[in-house]
């Protein structure tokens, strides 16, 4: 029962986690807008989310898939597992954060300046604003789901 409740929220919470990861990624692009040699990165969000939630992407643009992949090493000890000290404890699944780092891609189409920096501050700020709004949308959707469950639990009479 509880597991089903958790599952009904998992898509939204996955989306929320990935949105916050992307937020951090764009933040680092903005912070590094003056760093020589820094290359702006971003992710194909719908692809990563569908990978994570095990669903197929509705339609991903063909151009996005052919972007060069950013090779990124996974640090050791990055995965954490929950330890159960009693058989009554619920099973905790570790949050898989590696997926986003693996699918990070260099942003294309921006001309690098003479110091090798490819951050376009306007593009980054636009992406940041977009991601903020979508984060709030995911938050709202999650909130709505929780509200629905609460209504179902409480019943009509309250």
């Amino acid at each position: 029962m509880l597991d089903k409740l958790g599952k009904s929220l998992s898509f939204q919470s996955d989306a929320l986690v990935l949105r916050s990861k992307r937020q951090a990624m764009i933040t680092s692009n903005i912070a590094n807008s003056d760093t020589p040699g820094y290359k702006a990165t971003d992710v194909n969000f719908s692809k990563v989310l569908s990978q994570k939630s095990g669903k197929t992407a509705p339609s991903s643009s063909p151009g996005a898939n052919s972007q060069p992949k950013l090779a990124m090493a996974k640090p050791e000890g990055a995965s954490s597992t929950m330890i159960r000290t009693s058989s009554f404890h619920m099973e905790g699944k570790p949050v898989d954060t590696s997926l986003l780092a693996e699918s990070a891609q260099y942003r294309r189409g921006s001309t690098a300046s003479i110091d090798g920096n490819s951050v376009n501050l306007e593009v980054e700020r636009a992406s940041f604003a977009e991601n903020t709004v979508k984060y709030e949308a995911a938050l709202k959707s999650l909130n709505g789901r929780i509200q629905t469950l609460m209504d179902a639990i409480k019943g009509n009479g309250r």
Binding site: I30, D34, L70, P75, G77, F128
Partner: protein
Amino acid sequence: MSLFNSFKVAGSGMYSQTQRLNTVASNIANAETVANSEDTVYQARKVVFEAQLKRAMGNQASASAGVAVKEVTVNDSPAKKVYDPSSPLADNNGYVYLPNVNIAEEIVDMISSSRSYQASAEVMNTSKQLMLKTLNLGG
């Protein structure tokens, strides 16, 4: 939670830009500092940034990177030589030496730096608001 990471990264950006502003301030303040030889005259300084992938992400796999000042470089182009025999610092030939600071360049650097600072500050503000909204989840 990676919104905390956003704070760290934006904070590192703000801190680095502050250091850049500091060097600009130092260059402008010393633009008229004369010296009696080319070896002792003030030279314009400039910071070089570096992405800090490891430190920002701590133990988690993530592609976000903070920024830090890698080094402060000194501009070693020749100092301006001005004939001013009345100056107490004039050398035997009556010359004093002025720093190689280019004020126009420094002002441009200052504007660029303050814009970057503003961008990071805005990012931090937005992240904070998102976080507060997330704290209210289900309420």
